[in-house]
Symmetry: C2
């Protein structure tokens, strides 16, 4: 494996000149540059970036911490991050925390150990104090999910408003007994979506019936369990808002098994517009987040912090969209 000195020898120049050529410095004569380039080719030279990284004290690598990479929600967010990152010569590394705080902390060591230049959180597990402390010393951004009141910039949608609109749509279309299936885990987005649900009922003079609210695991089974418990209690809502598509799909599957028809008997609105939601039968009405843009923006913000070394706290809110499709009955 050849190193910069070998190239220098072959080209008959100093390592400094080789380095200049490699880094596109303008102060190299055309002739020398050509010499060097030929030597590089002849030796099949590949710069050892460990040396460069140490010297420059940067890695051009961003770490993205998410709950689990296989969550379909992330796919477009990831794309948005990668695109912006690559355009700016950054590589992006995605790591699963599995909602495990120890694991998250382990990954944060990559930051402290200078192996990555910045971290984007998509589902922070650490407490707000730790997050703020790390954020004082290292570039940090929160994307989609976040700790409220933290001193760390974030980009997300307005979850409260989105939920409000979804539930209001159900109300405007004649539904009265509107249930909520929320996640057991009290993420900020879930809390906000529940707030929106409650406000929509409140502002439309519908008494909130706590027996129509369920807190379940965030997934297919959560939806199934919620429906089972509604059926058990012989009190099935005439419409449902769920904090995720995957919960909604579980709910639909369970409703079918109890011979309820969606949307004729029950309307359902999910959240996130996952690809599966348009494959399902019926195609799910849902709230769509601008996932690509969320990722893109998060990457923009972190690179900005890295470059500017200063940290102005920003709360970027992007627009969501209510998608009405087959799982909701129109009045």
């Amino acid at each position: 494996m050849s190193k910069i000195q070998d190239v220098a020898n072959l080209a008959g120049v100093s390592v400094a000149t080789v380095s200049r050529v490699l880094n596109n410095s303008p102060k190299v004569s055309a002739k020398t540059r050509l010499n060097v380039i030929n030597a590089v080719k002849e030796l099949n030279y590949e710069p050892n970036l460990l040396g460069r990284n140490l010297r420059r004290s940067e890695t051009k690598m961003i770490l993205v911490l998410l709950q689990n990479i296989s969550n379909p929600f992330y796919s477009k967010v990831i794309k948005g991050m990668e695109d912006y990152g690559h355009k700016n010569n950054y590589n992006v590394m995605f790591c699963n925390t599995d909602s495990n705080i120890e694991r998250e902390k382990k990954y944060l060591d990559l930051l402290k150990n200078k192996l990555v230049d910045g971290v984007i959180f998509m589902a922070p597990e650490i407490d707000i104090y730790t997050m703020n402390t790390i954020g004082k010393n290292y570039p940090l951004i929160q994307c989609c999910e976040y700790l409220e009141n933290s001193q760390i910039s974030r980009v997300s949608i307005d979850n409260e408003k989105a939920a409000f609109e979804a539930v209001e749509y159900l109300i405007k279309n004649g539904h009265k007994k509107i249930g909520l299936i929320n996640s057991k885990k009290p993420h900020q987005s879930s809390k906000d979506r529940e707030k929106g649900y409650r406000r929509a009922l409140y502002e439309n003079n519908i008494q909130i019936d706590e027996s129509l609210i369920r807190y379940e695991s965030y997934g297919f089974k959560g939806g199934i369990n919620a429906i089972k418990s509604f059926v058990d209690e012989k009190k099935v809502p005439d419409a449902l808002f769920t904090v995720s598509d995957i919960i909604a799909i579980g709910a639909i599957k369970a409703l079918k098994s109890f011979n309820f028809n969606v949307p004729d008997d029950i309307s359902i609105i999910g959240f996130d517009n996952l690809s599966i939601s348009s494959m399902y039968d019926p195609i799910l009405s849902t709230v769509s987040q601008p996932r690509y843009e969320l990722g893109n923006k998060a990457m923009e913000l972190i690179i900005e912090i890295i470059k500017n070394k200063k940290n102005i706290i920003k709360n970027v809110v992007l627009n969501h969209q209510l998608l009405i499709r087959e799982s909701t009955k129109k009045e």
Copy 2:
């Protein structure tokens, strides 16, 4: 940000001793070790791994190249890789190639630039010659998908046999007009699955009817299109084998829209046992790959290569499983 020298100063020892403590060298007196540890804590010292990596010329980082991280097939494979990697002090980095050869080559630079210690391919785009060449100089492994006859170790299932068994099951249960929906992209696994399909028909004395075979995009739409074309040609099979669950689900969705019942009118067997396949209605019969183990083994192999520096070509074949569920009619 403190460095090793600061710790040494505070502890009243040399940097060598600090380094020894950090690396758990046994030749440090208990007292000195304690001193150092205290100094480390007091200064909140975090070693700069860029220095270490350069010095040791390793990063303890494995790069996994896959088509797209959001493909649900990968989720458990990824978990298997991470678990084995972490247990052996390796970090794992997953990157999307989007089936783009340029992008793949770009990521391979991380290997040449010494930023990762090895690469696992899950859907190689580069040609066999390039792969072999790189494999001569750097640790490489193929997982699930692979280039046949390459000089690079791999771990996968026996796709031909798995397909054979699936199709034979359909035959044994009374189906005669058995269609195949394959992927347009001629990946090795798809080719092998088609081989298995053909062999099953052949060995059971069923004439292969090429008009029952479709090559479509690898996804939901592929399944839909295939069914549309069968219906257009007024020649719908009485059973279908598809090379992926997601194609199978597209097919089911389309069949429903044409008022075919699965499995009463048509039996379908997919491939991969994606989580969505057990959420669907009907629950999909499919071939399950030991995805966690595939990932685990691939990681084991690459770490082995890295440690041993020698490269014995291995073809590891793990066992698949035919899962018969709701989308197939029993005779």
